[in-house]
Symmetry: C2
Subunit: 561 residues, 2 copies
């Protein structure tokens, strides 16, 4: 019958590789059936329990807990007695002696290194990243379990200095052809990626490679970069540098925004890019395949396909001509088709703000007074409130004609978007009534009118004649909603501002790096042929948080300008 023997080492610091190797070393000893070596967090203790390894001892999350399931108490004790020897064996690794002991020292040894990779335990990561920024380096923070307050603070600094912080919790990057952290080996090419999702970037870069495409840069941002409190600092910097990078022809942007509103700043930045940008905001339905230079994908694999297709020129790249900068600022959409209005809102909410409508997707889009437009406005004129005692606007144009004149008279209106739905049951000749009003509104200098006509060549109204009449009235006419919405968006142009201090493009050509944390990441850099140096890092003050705080304060005072 087997027995559990355990040991606690309070407040000890070991990196995860050491713990894994120690656990494996214990299992290999005679008389040992299973072993667990973990920091004693509640989840880790539950995981031990699930494997039948829960000892009856009290330990806290900063304690190292060692448990063995042994044939006998004696065998267990004998195994645990070898822990120090197993640890010592690890410590005496041949190379360790030659590694510098601090980031500072490493930076002096390899001054050309523009990048610092950080994979120390989460509670130490922000401190190392601050040191790296202070040394003027870009940082890649692999570590997770880093408080968001630290991320906000780090990105405030990096944004102001024109440095990049990838992460925390950034699993992957490919910079100047070298993979950082977890990274697939892909051929060099002209697709540049920005991703708030590590495996998202890995899946898309792998798929691009499989499809015959290549990657210029793959820049991670960390999974929380798009959170409003962080403000997409890294994603916006990354988009800007890829815009300036002559090797990048097509950009791919991947993220999981918590909601549409969180995506707005990064999509505004993406519209500033004078290149096609393939966007996969995982979980958000875009409602259109294309809006201006943005091409929307609804899965990682589709994002890869789209990027390769656009890059190889078989899909027409976005005409990223600047908007026509009409006199007004806003789009006004007057729809008779409720679903067309809704699909338009779905597309436009990605790129136009503020957007109001009587068919809101999010609460803040609700137009309080449907009789008065505000900002960008999309109206379903067939909504119940408009049809009490009144024919549907597909039959009776009166309401729409009055509203069209009202919008045209509003100096804030830049573009008017109309639908015209033909077919049985609808008005016998909508163009006869609506086209003259379009023509009249086009008298106002700079006002543009986009019309989408829904119908078939068999419809009683004569599709071609309707289209011709609207064209003659000066409207831009489409037969599909997405093309109409796309044109309306292009006519409006964009208003996003550049992010703060720009990143140095040269940093992305020289991926020489300093590695702090997992030695395997250093080995991987060397295996890829990169110039790299590893820091034999130990936590300051032996991991004692109080002492660390004092040291950090002393240091920052000493270094303040």
């Amino acid at each position: 019958m087997s027995t559990l023997v355990s040991e606690i080492r309070p407040g000890a610091y070991f990196d995860s590789v050491v713990l894994m190797q120690l656990q494996r070393g214990l299992v290999a000893l005679p008389g040992i059936e299973d072993a667990g070596v973990v920091m004693a967090t509640p989840v880790n203790i539950e995981l031990l329990a699930a494997s039948g390894l829960q000892p009856e001892v009290k330990a806290g999350p900063d304690d190292l807990l060692l448990v063995v399931k042994a044939e006998s108490e004696a065998a267990g004790r004998a195994a645990l007695a070898q822990v120090d020897e197993l640890l010592a064996r690890r410590r005496s690794s041949a190379r360790a002696a030659f590694f510098p002991k601090s980031l500072d020292a490493a930076a002096k040894t390899l001054p050309e290194a523009r990048w610092v990779l950080i994979s120390v335990p989460g509670r130490f990561a922000a401190g190392v990243a601050r040191e790296a920024l202070h040394l003027g380096k870009n940082v890649f923070v692999y570590s997770d379990n880093v408080p968001i307050e630290d991320e906000i603070d780090l990105k405030k600094q990096s944004g102001a200095k024109g440095l990049l912080v990838m992460g925390p919790d950034c699993g992957t990057a490919i910079i100047g052809g070298q993979g950082f952290g977890f990274a697939n080996r892909v051929r060099p090419g002209s697709i540049g990626l920005v991703g708030a999702s590590g495996t998202g970037l890995q899946a898309v870069t792998s798929a691009i490679h499989a499809l015959g495409g290549g990657v210029s840069q793959a820049i991670g941002t960390g999974s929380r970069d798009l959170k409003p409190e962080v403000g997409a600092v890294s994603a916006r910097q990354a988009l800007d540098v890829l815009d300036r990078d002559p090797q990048t022809k097509v950009v791919v942007l991947i993220s999981k925004p918590s909601e549409a509103a969180a995506a707005a700043p990064v999509l505004s930045a993406a519209r500033r890019v004078a290149k096609p940008v393939v966007v996969d905001l995982i979980g958000l339905a875009p409602g259109a395949a294309k809006l201006d230079n943005l091409h929307f994908a609804s899965s990682l694999e589709e994002a890869a396909h789209l990027a390769v297709r656009i890059e190889s020129g078989s899909a027409s790249p976005a005409s990223s001509a600047p908007g026509m900068a009409p006199n007004g600022k806003y789009l006004r959409g007057l729809f008779s088709g409720g679903t067309l209005a809704y699909e338009a809102v779905l597309s436009l909410q990605a790129v136009l703000r503020p957007l109001y409508t009587n068919v809101p997707i999010a609460d803040e889009q609700r137009l309080q007074d449907p009789l008065k437009s505000r900002g960008h406005t999309i109206l379903d004129l067939g909504a119940d409130v408009f049809t009490v005692g009144r024919l549907h606007p597909m039959i009776d144009n009166d309401l729409r004609l009055r509203r069209l004149r009202q919008e045209a008279a509003d100096p804030e209106t830049a573009v008017i978007l109309l639908d015209v739905v033909l077919g049985e049951g609808a008005h016998p000749d909508p163009a006869a009534e609506v086209a003259p009003a379009v023509s009249e509104s086009r008298q106002r200098k700079g006002l543009e009118v986009v019309v989408v006509v829904i119908g078939t060549d068999a419809d009683p109204q004569d599709l071609e004649a309707q289209i011709e009449r609207f064209r003659a009235a000066g409207a831009r006419v489409h037969t599909g909603l997405s093309a109409a919405v796309d044109e309306a968006v292009r006519l409006l142009g964009h208003t996003s501002e550049a992010p703060g201090a720009p990143l140095a493009l040269a940093d992305f050509r020289s991926p020489a790096a300093i590695n702090v944390g997992l030695e395997s990441f250093y080995e991987s850099l060397v295996a890829q042929g990169a110039t790299a140096i590893h820091v034999d890092w130990r936590p300051p003050a032996g991991g004692d948080e109080r002492l660390m705080g004092i040291l950090a304060r002393m240091k920052s005072k000493g270094q303040a300008p």
Copy 2:
């Protein structure tokens, strides 16, 4: 200087066409600049105000309000004095005399009519629909402003009787080649549509026609059919009848669910269909292009393209073979890639319930205890809680191996889904450790394992060898997540039940119809060559709600079995 002259007709009933014609008639009179003829709802009064037509009178929503803007008071009075004459002119329409005055009478005149089109004002529509159901007819309720309680009640009745209620607020349908309400003329064909969105159906049927495809049936459900309190009764009946219709080869389903949960019943029904179903749930991101027989589109135009492509055989139709019905019931996904886990949840939430995960999209998906799976479960084993003092599962397989054994031992597990991410920084040979555990778990009869390997042929682990080793262990291996998720879903099969009493397929071959409400819809039926009859409908009890209630109760008692 112009002046406003107005008149109120309390509680008067006129249909909307009469009001429109009256308004146009008034504008055409001498000395009249503009006119408004509306039921005096608050919005309608505001609309009058926006046109400078707001009179200083008090009127309620059941009152008819007539306003003219005239050159002089006298001209205004003279115009209003002609209202009765204008109305009488309308009433004496030549045909009206020959129309039956009640639905009952019309049904006796045209007994073969299986369909009743209802476009009377909203507050009367449910009453007419109840009469139609009582007569054993399917109904198309164009009317909007119908209380949802009436819709729930009507669909309870129709569901039990094997009749269809399209609507309320159903703008369009094409039944046996005839358009009901607003409908585009499209060529007959083998694409059958179900839509909770009128203009959505119009846009997609028009696009199908433009692409050279054709339509078998287009069945509207009304925009609220998917609301949980209505329960998608009509959509489920419609999917069932299209499944049985030999002329329909491909089905298209369009709706705007308020959230993913609302889509579940109709997607379960769609999975029962033994034909490919193109799904456009406007506003919901599916996360995958295909799941079993469901093909997801993210816009109306894409839905049309997909349907035509599948129908013409250039896209492979879904292999709708029934699931393998393995011993267990549930899917268990064990991911090292957080974004892969999230994208899997995004896809699976459409078709698998209950679904739990530690990367939830909706709150109710949150797995309370990440160490214990419930129902269908998707786990991100790289989540922060699992990586305190432990290497990421891409480097260290220990945690995953233990969990894999735990899931395989659970008799509720039917399919296990794993990702394996290769590349720099990752474990040098994951298959060496994971494949034996896969092989071991496959010993349990009926348990299936699906593996998605993310990597490139340049990765240090040797992609092909990794795949081969997992295949040899009995896993079904894919290199893209969506194919892996698709296979997992197919292996699970489906559990949805058929809706209540089935609709009669024959009704969809004989679109003979009775029209109650807008005469223009009758005219359109006749123009299409349909057998149709119009009812010269007037509200019961002259529109007096109290009297109507008494009449309805008397009638229902008289007709009770």
